[in-house]
């Protein structure tokens, strides 16, 4: 009994490659060497590439940040959030208004945008997180629409035209206005987001999210406050989105309601789900797919969403856990 059983040999080429990779990176030295190489490459990347590719990479880093935030809500806590663009908008507009209308320094606006996201998160999450899970999907969807319609109809947000003249951040006396500046800014942000996600995942709070996801009642019986724990996920995830929004506003210097439509929420969600919910490398992979596919295959422009729709459907039907594979499990034979 209880002997350790390795997974049966497979003939699926995908699985063979995955298994080989897992075995290879089992050795921590290889893993760290790989990470160091990747980071090194990304650091020198702006020196060897065109502005256009840097733009794409910046966009990718931006997706990684925002989607890791959404991943906390959807992947870790298992709550379907369909209005994430609204939290992204909360951050962008907080920075936009404070910067363009009141002339506040960019870095000072960030705490405000986090606070705004936390308040919005509490307002939506507190009453609804105790309801059935799938109601949250609709409430967040509705909230996303309310937010978009509100910023479209208010004066302070500049209505349908939006805000212009958002100030560029100044970093140690250098005004960040080159694409390479933003490349590095979002690169650092993405690394911070990865570290924070990783630490949360492997912590008391991260485990509590997993327990609730697996069995809500059993988690409650183990002394976990289901509502507040979920609320934490909701607020932390929303804050990621808001910070992403602030930096987005600073990079663009102009924002309008068109950047915060339902379809943007869907694209973020797609990145999280395609790669693999709840798995950091999965989210990075998903972000790459969502950002790079339309760039690599220029011709697919108008068909992009249709293709994504099919991709999403196929992934759900055949690999509901996403493209990124799970760690091989140890199991006992009876």
């Amino acid at each position: 009994m209880a002997e350790i059983k390795k997974k049966a040999k497979t003939t699926n080429p995908f699985e063979i490659i995955v298994e080989a990779l897992f075995n290879f990176f089992e050795n921590k030295v290889y893993l760290y060497a790989f990470i160091a190489l990747a980071v090194g490459f990304l650091i020198i990347f702006p020196n060897v590439s065109s502005r256009f590719t840097q733009e794409i990479m910046t966009n990718l880093f931006f997706y990684v940040v925002v989607c890791l935030g959404l991943n906390i809500i959807v992947g870790y806590a298992g709550l379907l959030h369909l209005g994430y663009a609204a939290f992204f908008a909360v951050g962008a507009y907080t920075t936009g208004i404070l910067s363009s209308r009141m002339g506040m320094d960019f870095w000072l606006t960030i705490p405000f945008s986090v606070v705004a996201a936390v308040i919005a998160g509490l307002a939506i999450g507190f009453p609804t997180l105790r309801l059935r899970g799938d109601y949250l999907a609709i409430v967040t969807l509705g909230f996303g629409e309310i937010t978009r319609l509100t910023i479209r109809n208010l004066d302070i947000t500049g209505g349908a035209i939006g805000l212009i003249g958002i100030q560029r951040p100044v970093f140690f006396g250098i005004t960040l206005n080159q694409i390479s500046h933003f490349y590095y800014m979002f690169f650092i942000l993405a690394i911070i987001a990865i570290i924070v996600s990783y630490r949360l995942e492997n912590s008391r709070m991260g485990r509590a999210w997993a327990y609730i996801r697996e069995d809500e009642d059993a988690a409650a019986a183990m002394g976990i406050n289901v509502v507040t724990t979920r609320l934490y996920a909701f607020i932390i995830g929303s804050s990621f989105g808001a910070v992403g929004g602030s930096f987005f506003a600073a990079k663009m210097t102009a924002i309008s309601p068109d950047s915060f439509m339902f379809i943007h929420s869907v694209m973020f969600l797609m990145a999280v789900v395609l790669g693999g919910m709840g798995k950091i490398p999965g989210v990075v992979l998903g972000s790459m797919l969502v950002v790079l596919i339309p760039e690599v295959a220029r011709g697919i422009g108008p068909y992009r969403l249709l293709i994504f729709g099919f991709l999403l459907l196929i992934i759900m039907l055949y690999r509901p856990q996403g493209i990124w594979p799970d760690k091989p499990a140890i199991s006992a034979k009876e």
Binding site: L200, A210, Y211, M222, Y232, S331
Partner: protein, 258 residues
């Protein structure tokens, strides 16, 4: 004063009465059982005690404090831990992670300390792991801590549930049909384990069982309920000799007018 006191507990669903004016007391350091046929309302009593159901009437006092309107997680924090009749493990997670869940209510690392990886947070993580491993060792499955819970055989899964409940560091342990589905061997080891929990860890035990043989061996005092009403209370011998109990378990002796 009794550690736990149930007074006139009543639970109604629609028109049906699942528990009817049940009263009982559990003294600290004792092993008590609640027995009765299937559908007699035993699990409903547990669900009321642990906050999963809100009683229609009556009172549950734990160390003199009312548990009415308390949330399940808070009741666990107060010191009542439970197991489930149909195993409710976190199936996709490792055995160790399962047991670590029990420590949640005894620890408090939050967002900032976690993100900053403070010394205190690291120490706490280590502590959680140690307690969980100790609990696994206590029930005897420490060697399987890295297995995925759902891949263990049934008897071991039960043990994981026990270790998980122990990790919440309870004052009283509520066991819902712990012997269901176990064979004779496993049952006798179960009895030994219950004694060790009570004697070595000073935890009061309250169990629901259907298997009267097991109950009679282990508990000093037994409460018998049938269709939500307490029909007997006393030692194994007293209960066994009670005609009402015999009737509830074996059916009426005398022939009805057929």
């Amino acid at each position: 004063m009794a550690l736990l006191e149930i007074k006139d507990l009543t639970l109604r669903f629609g028109g049906l009465c699942a528990v009817n004016a049940l009263s009982l007391e559990i003294e600290e350091g004792s092993i008590r059982s609640l027995i009765g046929p299937n559908g007699a309302g035993k699990t409903c009593v547990f669900n009321c005690m642990t906050g999963f159901y809100i009683p229609s009437d009556g009172e549950i006092l734990f160390q003199g404090q009312s548990l009415r309107d308390k949330k399940p997680h808070y009741i666990t924090y107060l010191g009542l831990a439970r197991t489930f009749q149909n195993l409710r493990l976190f199936k996709g997670m490792s055995v160790l992670e399962n047991v670590m869940s029990g420590m949640h209510c005894r620890t408090n690392a939050a967002f900032l300390t976690t993100v900053l990886r403070t010394k205190g947070q690291k120490k706490e993580e280590k502590h959680i792991r140690e307690v969980a491993e100790e609990c696994l060792d206590f029930v005897g499955i420490l060697d399987k801590k890295d297995f995925i819970a759902s891949n263990l055989p049934y008897g071991d899964q039960r043990k994981v549930e026990w270790a998980r409940a122990l990790a919440t560091q309870p004052k009283i342990l509520l066991l819902d049909e712990p012997a269901a589905g176990l064979n004779k061997d496993e049952k006798s080891r179960l009895i030994e384990l219950m004694h060790r929990i009570r004697d070595e860890r000073d935890i009061t035990i309250f169990l629901i069982e259907h298997d009267m043989g097991l109950v009679m061996k282990i508990s000093e005092k037994i409460f018998v309920i049938d269709y939500g009403v307490k029909i007997a209370e006393g030692t194994a011998q007293e209960v066994r000799d009670n005609p009402k109990v015999v009737e509830a378990y074996l059916g009426k002796e005398e022939e009805e007018t057929a």
